[in-house]
Point group: C2
Chain length 268, copies 2
């Protein structure tokens, strides 16, 4: 057990959280107490500490989108010296939301503002008929997909671009410029094709809009420049339809190595 | 479209079926119309043909157990010349039951009596905390499992044995002797351990009883001969607890190469 400073103003806890988004209206707390991941976890923290605790996530995930390692932080309102924080939160939470890791973080750590990148995975099931065992975690496309063509499109996305064409309505960010450090399609097993994308940040439904567009262009056998044209148009109406949410997983949120070093794992 | 002989007495259809067993009381039709895979599919066939159709499975799977490739057959009561049988059955079925393949089979083919072997997979999630994305398809064991020890136990199970100690109550088979052609544990990815077992046939809950016993013996660091003692005792009370159903998947049912050759794929 690390030596914590109970009630210290410096106390901040970083959590790594997995969730099945199927039954939630996304991460972000909403008015009218709809079912969201954030509110569910805040309720667990409230039960644990006996008073309201704000939980800050690294960003929203949409309705139905999953996470393998979403990051969030909170400042405990009282000593956590005697609490196995992971087990305690999980005990108060439903089985589709599970804390995997907990760290004692410095006060400068902020799950959203300190994030320097995110890794998303989009899983497509590419076989003639549906798979009942993967129906909640993949998007089924029966037409055979040309992996090489998909990869050509993905290559054109890498680097710094204005991704305005791939931002869904209802967002209010200052800049729509983002950097994709890597974007690649991979065949996984005999019948899955995954899109893995690591970027500095992502606009609203950007991954799903990119996947939906790349898949549509591939099925139509369009040339790679077609994607560049859509990108340069800076107009959402140019992008093709958005891929459904259940295939998307937030796989990792990155912070600087310096900040990672200052976070101390609370439990194995 | 193959040239079928409509209304011929020789017409038999072999189906390969995937299902998520979570919401079903197993394969086998029951009195009082409880939710089973067999009854659900027979209802689909009834809608398709306008009259009752019997569907014969290769064997039962228990409540909550999944299948990637269960095999079943039926004799269509009318011509199927103009029916895309896979799409038609799937259209009438819920999304957790999906026909993957359909064959025109000779009348000598019988999903149960012709079967010469089955392959089962049991998935254990071996990590400190649960994974919400795999909770319906794995059994969570937080204590680190010794793969080598598990494999030593499995090696002792291979070959022909009387598996009476691993048969759950409520079964009425003539012989409890079965042959395991292979039985092995594998590490899959960073946090899963799978038991793959290919046998001539399996007794009631045999795979789950074998897995539950091997895992318990491994956690207690028992020597390999302990499993042999349990096997030789021919007494169910000697075996340790049964592993839960959601980790189990029926992966394949085998028939003789001669019979496979006589089955003609109806659709890709």
């Amino acid at each position: 057990m690390p030596d914590l400073q109970p009630n210290s103003e410096d106390l901040r806890v970083k959590l790594v959280i997995s969730y099945d988004g199927t039954n939630y209206l996304g991460w972000q707390r909403q008015r009218l107490h709809r079912e969201t991941i954030q509110e569910t976890l805040e309720n667990s923290l409230k039960k644990l500490f006996g008073r309201p605790v704000l939980l800050h996530g690294s960003g929203r995930t949409d309705t139905g989108v999953h996470a393998w390692a979403q990051v969030a932080h909170f400042d405990p309102p009282s000593s956590i010296e005697r609490i196995h924080i992971i087990k305690a939160i999980n005990r108060f939470s439903p089985q589709d939301i599970v804390v995997q890791e907990a760290y004692l973080a410095p006060r400068e750590f902020h799950s959203l503002h300190s994030a320097v990148g995110k890794l998303y995975r989009y899983r497509i099931l590419n076989r003639p008929y549906r798979c009942p065992l993967r129906r909640a975690y993949t998007t089924w496309i029966p037409q055979p997909l040309d992996l090489e063509r998909l990869q050509e499109f993905a290559t054109h996305l890498q680097g710094e671009h204005d991704f305005k064409s791939f931002q869904s309505a209802g967002s209010n960010v200052k800049s729509t410029v983002r950097t994709l450090f890597s974007a690649s399609w991979q065949r996984i097993g005999s019948d899955e094709i995954h899109f893995l994308v690591h970027g500095s940040g992502f606009l609203k439904q950007m991954v799903r809009n990119l996947v939906g567009t790349m898949v549509a262009l591939t099925l139509r056998k369009e040339p790679p420049r077609r994607l560049t044209e859509i990108l340069l148009a800076l107009d959402r109406r140019e992008a093709l339809k958005s891929a459904p949410p259940q295939g998307l997983v937030l796989e990792r949120v990155y912070y600087s190595p310096e900040l990672d070093k200052k976070c101390r794992k609370l439990y194995e």
